[in-house]
């Protein structure tokens, strides 16, 4: 246990990445905010904080899957916008909700197949997908509007036994991801594939009998499904469809994963690190809002934090 704990602070020894740093930052931020401001530790603010953090948390978990295999998904934001647009169409909830996940799964499938079968670089493939999906979303819903099924709104805005429902969304997403990443062969294979890619030996996993292509495709499908879940959550929060709601969300998701110690070359990263990364980002945004820091400065600080944290994690590979 102590060994495991120590590994969170060492970039060299751990396959889980540098997750100790975001944990310290998160704790320090929370303590400073709790004692430094009157508004932070109030019920409303904490409810708000959780609701703000969840879509980012869910999207970041999805992004973790593809980053682990050395990929990157830039279409996450457009999947989110697309999901809210689908949910705001006219139709029964029993059709719309499954449709969101089926379509998102299809998007992930296309991403994965284009990357593995047609040998296109992940950045380029998902960038193209981003453009195409944004276009389709604008056709479905040129400006924000429409109504979202009541059940989605109720699942986002209510609370149970004094606990806000958004927390359950996060717990379910994290639990699901934990099961898949740490409790299934698929998860183990993802780490195996990524480890080989990071070391410059793309064939390593294949020689151990791992079906590399199929697992990478599934990672992109998982990423798109988590993005759709984040989209459904956001739709419930804004109660309508919005073609711009997911704008730049993929960057926040990547930032959260990177702050959590996930290395973009693949193979190194952890679920708890990514969750901590998302919490750091949410705390930072919440704290700066309370301190009346201009949203533009917040953006700049977020970028600076990302730069500083990834600068701490040296790796062998140079370039992308």
């Amino acid at each position: 246990m102590t060994q495991w704990f120590k590994s969170g602070f060492s970039a060299r020894r751990s396959r889980q990445g540098l997750w100790g740093v975001p944990m310290v930052i998160a704790v320090v931020l929370a303590v400073v905010l709790a004692f430094g401001t009157d508004q932070f530790a109030t019920r409303e603010n904490l409810f708000n904080l959780i609701a703000q953090a969840m879509p980012l948390l869910i999207a970041a978990i999805g992004q973790l899957f593809v980053i682990l295999v050395g990929g990157l998904d830039l279409s996450v934001g457009s999947v989110i916008s697309f999901s809210t647009a689908i949910l705001s169409l006219d139709g029964p909830a029993a059709v719309l909700i499954p449709a969101v996940f089926v379509l998102a799964g299809l998007v992930g499938l296309i991403n994965g197949l284009v990357i593995t079968r047609l040998n296109v670089h992940p950045i380029i493939a998902t960038l193209a997908m981003q453009y195409i999906l944004l276009g389709i979303t604008r056709i479905l819903r040129p400006v924000s509007g429409g109504t979202v099924p009541d059940i989605v709104i109720a699942a986002v805005q209510g609370s149970m036994l004094g606990v806000p429902l958004p927390l359950f969304w996060g717990l379910i997403a994290a639990g699901l991801a934990a099961k898949v990443l740490y409790g299934s062969r698929f998860g183990l294979h993802l780490f195996g594939i990524g480890g080989g890619v990071a070391a410059g030996m793309e064939e390593a996993a294949r020689t151990y009998g791992i079906r590399v292509g199929r697992n990478i495709v599934l990672a992109y499908v998982a990423c798109a499904l988590f993005a759709a879940l984040a989209g459904a959550f956001l739709a419930g929060r804004i109660v309508s469809g919005d073609p711009n709601v997911g704008l730049l969300f993929e960057l926040d998701a990547i930032t959260a994963a990177a702050i959590g110690g996930t290395q973009l070359s693949g193979g190194v990263g952890s679920l708890h690190g990514t969750v901590l990364g998302a919490i750091v980002l949410a705390l930072l945004a919440n704290g700066m809002n309370l301190a009346n820091v201009s949203p533009f400065v917040q953006t700049a600080i977020k970028g600076g934090l990302l730069l500083a944290i990834v600068g701490l994690q040296s790796r062998k590979k140079m370039g992308l």
């Binding site: 047609l118 193209a128 604008r138 960057l251 953006t299 700049a300 977020k302 990834v310 590979k317 992308l320």
Partner: protein, 317 residues
Amino acid sequence: MAAVLSHPIWRRLAAVPPAYWVFALLLLTLWIARPNMLNPNVLGIFVRQVVPLGILVLGQLLVMRVRSIDLSGGGVILLINYIITSRTFPEASGLTFIAMALAIGGVVGLLNGYMVAKRRVSAVIVTLAVSIILVGLVQFLSSGKPPGDVPKYMNEFFDIKYGPLPLPVLFWLGCTGLMWLVMQHSVYGRYVEAVGESAEAAAFSGVPVERTVVLAHMLAGLIAAVAALVQTGSIAVGSVRVGLDLPILAVAATILGGVVFGRGEGGVWGPFFGVLSFALLFVVMTVFGIDDAGKLIAQGLIILMAAILYGARAKRG
């Protein structure tokens, strides 16, 4: 099918970067649909609009050939545009602005290069983070409001024409020619090619890999500064949104031109035609009345098709 694909003629044709095909196709479409659009004056104006993109592409193709990427160009363009139009420096002359722009581009590029080559941080993350910081900074300084007017002399430079040829287009041609010389006939160009093929092999052969990558990023930063100056000349009033989509378009045009991470069959002129294709694409889509949504889809499909064409070839070869 396989026999057809391996036929020498087909292989010869497939070796041509997709940009030339797309360009020819779009030109043909325009010629059939609106022949009257195809006069030098009209086309000159359309091509003039993509000159900032065309210049930015020169930096992008350089970093992409050393297996890196630069997404910070948008932030650089925004910051330089803000400095020139906001009257923060009311006394500054054109030359001072040029010096300031190059200094900003150089410093940003150097930072990118240091982080990518020496600290070995993912280039996507570094350049995105730098862009986020610069955009946040400009929006904070301007409180999100458009700054002020562009100095008159910059617009005048941009409007100069020699016959049907606008000065910015000639400038772009000159820059591209210069880049071609560097890539084709300088030691540095050879280094870039070697690092792109295999950084490891290049290092064993005595190529200063890290320095090559740092310099590539620094040059990309300087080129982004030049693109920013041209972009500023092309608009009358400053803006806090100008140039933000240019880095992504630059990546797209570069791929269309047959340059992908580490490989550069398209050379310098492939991406040049990639940019021209985008210029024509906007014309054709406007002619056919395709709205913004359709434009996004078409752009995505073109990037995808170009990349698939190249990906498929990489696998065979």
